[in-house]
């Protein structure tokens, strides 16, 4: 049910806010009802826009067997603006820096309102499988990956063992 065109602006703003919140709620419901394998996302009780996320390290990658914790926040403008995602678990990856920030285009300029929490988390999982040292966020890790990939994989495995084991 939509609002009449000539409604006052404050009512319209309130309507848009409610509408966006219902999008968040319905999306959360679907996420819980139909979870993605290897990924969990649970909203905080006191803040429906703040999610605790875990991602399993994809098989065949140095992060295999690891379970990585992330936080995900949906800003007011979501789905028009991208969610903010950050790794909480330490990880040795060329596109993720010490603070856990992620270099992923769909989280920045390539965001589209048609993307969802589900697709974002799947993209992050895919980033673990396929590190991209040519577009680095952690230059030293990227250098390591480019110069001696085998050794870098060894360090990534060690870090996964150290910080991301269940």
């Amino acid at each position: 049910m939509s609002l009449p065109k000539a409604s006052p602006p404050h009512l319209r703003r309130a309507f848009v806010a409610v509408h966006r919140l219902t999008i968040v709620i319905s999306e959360t419901e679907r996420l819980v009802a139909d979870p993605v394998p290897g990924i969990t996302a649970a909203p905080h009780d006191d803040n429906l826009r703040y999610f605790d996320v875990t991602i399993q390290g994809p098989d065949g990658s140095p992060f295999q067997q690891g379970v990585f914790k992330l936080e995900l926040f949906l800003p007011e403008e979501y789905p028009m603006a991208p969610p903010k995602v950050r790794f909480l678990t330490k990880i040795y990856h060329p596109n993720i820096d010490k603070l856990g920030r992620i270099c992923l285009d769909i989280l920045k300029d390539k965001w589209s309102p048609a993307l969802q929490i589900r697709t974002v988390l799947l993209s992050i999982q895919a980033l673990l499988s396929a590190p991209n040292p040519d577009d680095p966020l952690a230059p030293d890790v990227a250098k390591h990956y480019k110069e001696n990939e085998a050794d870098a994989h060894r360090v990534s495995r060690e870090w996964t063992q150290l910080y991301a084991s269940k």
Binding site: M1, S2, P8, H10, L11, A14, F15, V16, V18, H19, T22, I23, S26, E27, R30, E77, P79, M80, A81, K110, W111, S112, P113, A114, L115, Q116
Partner: protein
Amino acid sequence: MLLNYVQEPNSNLLCCICRTPFNEPVTTRSCSHTFCRDCITQAISHARQCPVDRSVLTLDDLVPANSIIRSLVDELVVECIHRSSGCTFTCQRQLLAAHVMDTCPYRTTAGEEIEDVQSVPCSLCGAEFALEDLEEHTPECAASTVNCEFCTLELARSELGSHTGTCSAAIIPCVQVSNGCRWTGPRTDLKSQHTPSCPYEALSGFFELHNSKFARVAEENLFLRHRLEVLESRVQTQQRDLNSAKTALGPWFRSDGVYAHSSNNGGLASSADLPLDLQPGSASTSSRRYSQADTSPTFEQHPPDALAAYFPAEADSFERRPGWDAPFGAGSGTANSQNTVAPLNLSTTLEGSLTGVRASVVALGGAVDSLARRSDIALSNETRRLNEEVMSLRANMHGLRMQVHAIMMDRNAQVTGRSGEGGGGSNSVMPNPMSPLGPGDGAWPPPARFFYPGPGGKL
């Protein structure tokens, strides 16, 4: 406002932005993707691209979706929005609006709710505000009660201002604060305790007198400052004029001497006698300034030295120039060999000098004229004499030529031996170089004889 659909809608009918069945579906003209109108409008306002394929998109690219899609979403069965209140009515989505407006048993409640959202009366002053505006209004509502911060009396906000001005407990400064009293305290204590003991209060009469005097002086000072500014600007313009006049005057300008002396004695009168601005030097000008200054209150307290700053440079600068320095001494000294000006009498006025110069020029013109005439005559005389000389020289030349001719004829006759064929008048066979007349006749025809100069021809 979120609608509950009785059946799970077909996923093809869901807007990919809000994940609910299309509401007012629109389709993009360029890439044929369908969205709710509100969703895609907002998305374009954030980024001008299609949310699905990121192709460039503007609001102009949106057209209402195919009527089949609209029918499909409009005919989805939905529950009444008052289900939580107890209404179990379900109908097609397009009919729900009519139900909620007209037939729903819970519609009145809904109407009131909407009223509440749209405008809420302020509980204090009764004016109606939108819910958002009310929050801003409440803390500044004139009817709200506040406590006086001094006497804790509770009163309306609108009365607070007038109360603070009279509140007996309010902390106020001493009435003599402008004169330096630092006492502050409750209003009640001011009259009863502080005023009798305030040292400034005792002097209040003096302060009043002093203040009025001070105000008068300040006013006068302002007036004087204004006058000073006006006069300064006038001095500057006159200085400029003076400088240009000096430049024009050149050597006739003198910074001291006779005129400075007389103007010092006679003031304006002597300056007025002179041709307009031709003679007075900077000294006389400055003395005129002083005579003006004597009548003006502005300069009363200033010693002349204070004004000297306005007039010093010109005299110095002129004296420093050697070319202009020389004429000053020309009247007295003979040693001024580098005098750049003709020997004019610099002790007269400029006008007199100019007249003298003009007379000299006229005389010079006459002299030049007569000189030209004389030289003309001399030239013509000389020319005539030279002409005669040339004529006589030409005659001599001719005589010489004839003689040479005769000699050549004689010699010719000697060599060829045909002397006898010549004129009978000649008896000698041998050429006679000593006789120029002899061999003139010979092979030459008689007309040659005609040119023969007579025996009396001069050589």
